[in-house]
């Protein structure tokens, strides 16, 4: 299974005031709040952690069919972080997800998967031949093999990303 989340930083500045009183406390654990307050660029850390939660939640929702607003239950750990890339994990109840995030000046894109191996097999694809089930969960259809493949779509502001895990041959 796969989940992703893209953030348009310019758009987020118009939509969200993360410095608002109480905002960070509602969505981030105390450990995550420490990561934000100690970060050289707190704004990037806010959206890095948020996109990790969103990408992981998409898998959790696909797995469990549970719909809930549970940002504090999606617990992020950062494994590596540099100016253009980060890797990490998100834990939710008994589930663990692995994430990687591409960081550019105006955008962040996080991809979450269930096994570390799959992270290397994630590919970006075009937004076509995608259908959604009644829960709104998207699948890539293949007319050749008559199969449905897990796919994740995210758009924010001027960015859209569609990702899937390349099947093993």
């Amino acid at each position: 299974m796969i989940g992703n989340d893209v953030i348009d930083i310019i758009q987020s500045r118009k939509e969200s005031n993360w410095q608002r009183k109480g905002y960070l406390q509602k969505i981030f654990t105390s450990q995550e709040q420490l990561l934000i307050s100690n970060a050289p660029d707190p704004e990037i850390m806010v959206w890095l952690l948020w996109s990790m939660k969103e990408a992981a939640y998409k898998i959790y929702n696909r797995q469990t069919k549970i719909r809930a607003y549970i940002p504090q239950k999606l617990i992020c750990s950062i494994i590596s972080l540099n100016h253009d890339y980060s890797s990490g994990t998100v834990n939710c109840a008994e589930n663990s997800y692995y994430t990687k995030t591409f960081i550019a000046p105006e955008t962040l894109h996080t991809i979450a998967v269930q096994s570390l191996d799959s992270l290397n097999n994630v590919v970006e694809i075009e937004n076509k031949n995608i259908i959604k089930d009644i829960s709104g969960i998207p699948y890539l259809t293949s007319s050749l093999s008559n199969t449905f493949q897990d796919v994740s779509i995210s758009h924010h502001g001027k960015f859209e990303k569609v990702v899937t895990i390349r099947p093993a041959f």
Binding site: S16, N17, Y23, Y69
Partner: protein
């Protein structure tokens, strides 16, 4: 405050975060914040903070989990107001 008044006040709160004006104009108890009103999930927390300020209540994490639509939000606010 009756339910109609409560929904009217909630409607004022969610307006700035709504991008789907048609769904907003036709808002009912069944309206879903994300699926119907296209509210960004990062703005759900703003709605929760605005509700806390407007109604002088505290929305804890357990309540927050369910605040995805008008009906549930109204129920939670009513319960909080009744407990005051």
């Amino acid at each position: 405050m009756n339910k109609e008044e409560l929904i009217a006040q909630l409607k004022v709160i969610i307006k700035p975060y709504t991008t789907n004006t048609e769904a907003y104009d036709n808002l009912t108890e069944e309206t879903d914040f994300i699926n119907d009103l296209n509210i960004n999930s990062a703005n759900l927390v703003d709605i929760i903070l605005d509700i806390e300020e407007a109604f002088d209540v505290v929305i804890d994490n357990t309540d927050m989990e369910r605040m995805l639509d008008v009906k549930t939000s109204v129920e939670i606010i009513e319960t909080k107001l009744a407990a005051k």
